[in-house]
Symmetry: C2
Subunit: 376 residues, 2 copies
């Protein structure tokens, strides 16, 4: 059989305050097109459907539309688990009904051990779980690390293995040796949360979610699909997409990219260039992308962010390649000391190269007056 | 056929801060027992499943368990609409799958016109909707009142009537002439939200939700089932329960009460009696009930609420039957005027019959000192 492996949709996510709804919709549409082109027999989603435990109505409606289209309209089997960003309770409502159309949604650890069989494959859907759930399920208070828990989980799963079939694990955790990026939320600390990949050896393929970079783990058959979208500036150079997994005669995997509706980019340059239309045009700068800007200038530039936002409607943030030029310390003069207002306006002039407006001066005067009168 | 008519579960509701989870569970359990005893063919829920648009996980899990038991385990058809307290989007997730087991959940106006047919009955499930939805659906910007909208809704439904069948409307609104109580939330103002009951004449039975008192509307075949629980002190004397509706040979309705796990009561008396164990025992006062207390005393009683809470673990609030005794106005003496602290402690003594403690005096002194020093 052939299935599509995806994860980390994070519906409802924002990027520096920008709503990614349109980007999500576009990526989902491409995912469906790929599933149809590749004629897959099932879609596997390895957790983090939503970006938060209690998603906004818009995200709830978006997921509902999408799972309806995949499972009810296209009649594709859907295998899904919750991730650390999802609420098992909220996401899990309805799962008893979903099974009737081959939509398997596991949100409780206890559901992980009954394999879903399709053709020659046994799928084990292991939802994201907390250690206390493993202690309860295995009635073992000694479970202190995810490694211990996963060891028991895999042992339990192996009891259900049918010889001659292929065994696929769907799970959501951090596999030891993966590179982290800054858009996943780290839940645990101190290395308790890393699963050694040798524990996963009994499986023919492990469809993972959690890490957003598909190349974070260099393993052939234990794979992160990565997210569909770039969720941070550090992911600007990653390629996002889904994995297509063939199981016959043996496991083989190929990657299908998802084009970003709006790219994420880091650009660097002089302020005068980056706000100059001719420069942007001749240098083929993508002004529609979500953009982080590194300025090479070292001088103070008034309202720089506002000017950059005018040129880049999806401007995210600005930083300096070489810092600000060291401010030459000036002696404070006697006349400044006698007039706090003069001290303030001289400083403002030094820092911004403009003088205080009449309105600004008025505000400053009033503030200084109040400070003077109520000297608590 | 025979169906059970219920509404206004308000899962997640609190009463003066008390969680009603156990009361809800107990009432649900009784509802299921009644459904089984009465051998009903379906359960009809006329809105307000949850108490809020975004219910807590606990309430979500409670509803999920309950609908699973009714529909999947007992295999009872379930006909349900959202009420004004529910989010149509959140509640509606999964509804496309639910239909496969005769669980019909309508949350969009557009779903209201396709009848659910069972035996000789056509059920029309009209979800709670906002006027803008009616304007969109009927493509008519002139719809300004719920009366206008319901007129069009009923006309549209009648086009789907099959002659010789009985027609049941399930809806969630305020029917003109009903008595309101203080535990429903009034959404609209100015009478726009009241539906004249003559509009409902085409139906053989109208299963309503919204009003929590089953007797609020004196109509034989247009009925509120009322809530399962008492949600305010003003409902202390109401009887809560569900309606059992027989359709054959013609509509007949009988009421089945739900016993409150803990009663809601108003009691009145002297403070000394109501905090006296012998008095409470000999007068058979239910100390386990959610209790509002009206004191007949007129004097100030220090920490009265705390003493009452000790006797009534579900104490809700206290009020006075005859107000407080008029405070005899005293002349302020010259020595009081010279010392704000003396003025304060004399007042405290008059009001509470106790003197300021050393710690209280210290706090007062400091506060007066600060006020004196920074006289802005």
């Amino acid at each position: 059989m052939r299935f599509l492996h995806t994860a980390d949709w994070h519906l409802g996510r924002r990027l520096f305050g920008y709503d990614l709804y349109e980007e999500q919709r576009d990526a989902m549409r491409q995912l469906i097109e790929i599933a149809q082109e590749e004629k897959v027999d099932a879609v596997v989603v390895a957790g983090d459907l939503y970006d938060r435990q209690n998603p906004a109505e818009q995200a709830v409606a978006q997921l509902a539309d999408f799972i309806q289209e995949i499972n009810l309209e296209l009649k594709l089997p859907l295998l899904m688990i919750n991730g650390n960003h999802d609420s098992a309770v909220r996401l899990g409502v309805g799962n008893q009904w979903y099974q009737q159309t081959n939509f398997y949604l596991h949100t409780q650890l206890s559901q992980a051990f009954e394999p879903i069989e399709m053709e020659n494959v046994q799928f084990f859907l292991l939802p994201y779980f907390e250690l206390y759930e493993a202690r309860q399920f295995f009635e073992d208070d000694q479970i202190r690390t995810l490694e211990q828990a996963i060891t028991l989980v895999v042992e339990q799963m192996q009891k259900h293995f049918v010889a001659g079939k292929q065994h696929v694990l769907v799970a959501h955790f951090f596999a030891a040796g993966s590179q982290r990026s800054d858009s996943e939320t780290t839940i645990s600390v101190g290395g308790l949360d890393a699963v050694p990949i040798n524990l996963l050896a009994p499986f023919d393929y492990v469809a993972l979610g959690h890490v957003h970079n598909k190349d974070a783990l260099q393993q052939k058959l234990v794979r992160y699909s990565g997210s569909l979208l770039k969720f941070s500036l550090s992911e600007a150079h990653q390629t996002k997409g889904v994995l297509i997994v063939d199981t016959d005669p043996q496991i083989s995997v190929h990657f299908r990219p998802i084009k970003q509706l709006h790219e994420v980019q880091n650009i660097q340059g002089e302020f005068s260039d980056l706000t100059n239309n001719d420069y942007l045009r001749t240098h083929h700068v993508d002004q529609t992308a979500y953009t982080g800007i590194v300025l090479e200038d070292t001088n103070v530039i008034s309202n720089a962010s506002q000017y950059l936002r005018d040129k880049f409607p999806r401007f995210l943030m600005m930083s300096r390649a070489h810092g600000l030029a060291t401010y030459t310390e000036k002696k404070i003069t006697a006349s400044q000391l006698q007039s706090p207002l003069k001290l303030l306006s001289d400083f403002y002039e030094d820092a911004t190269q403009t003088t205080l407006s009449t309105a600004q001066k008025k505000v400053a005067e009033n503030a200084l007056k109040e400070a003077d009168e109520c000297d608590l």
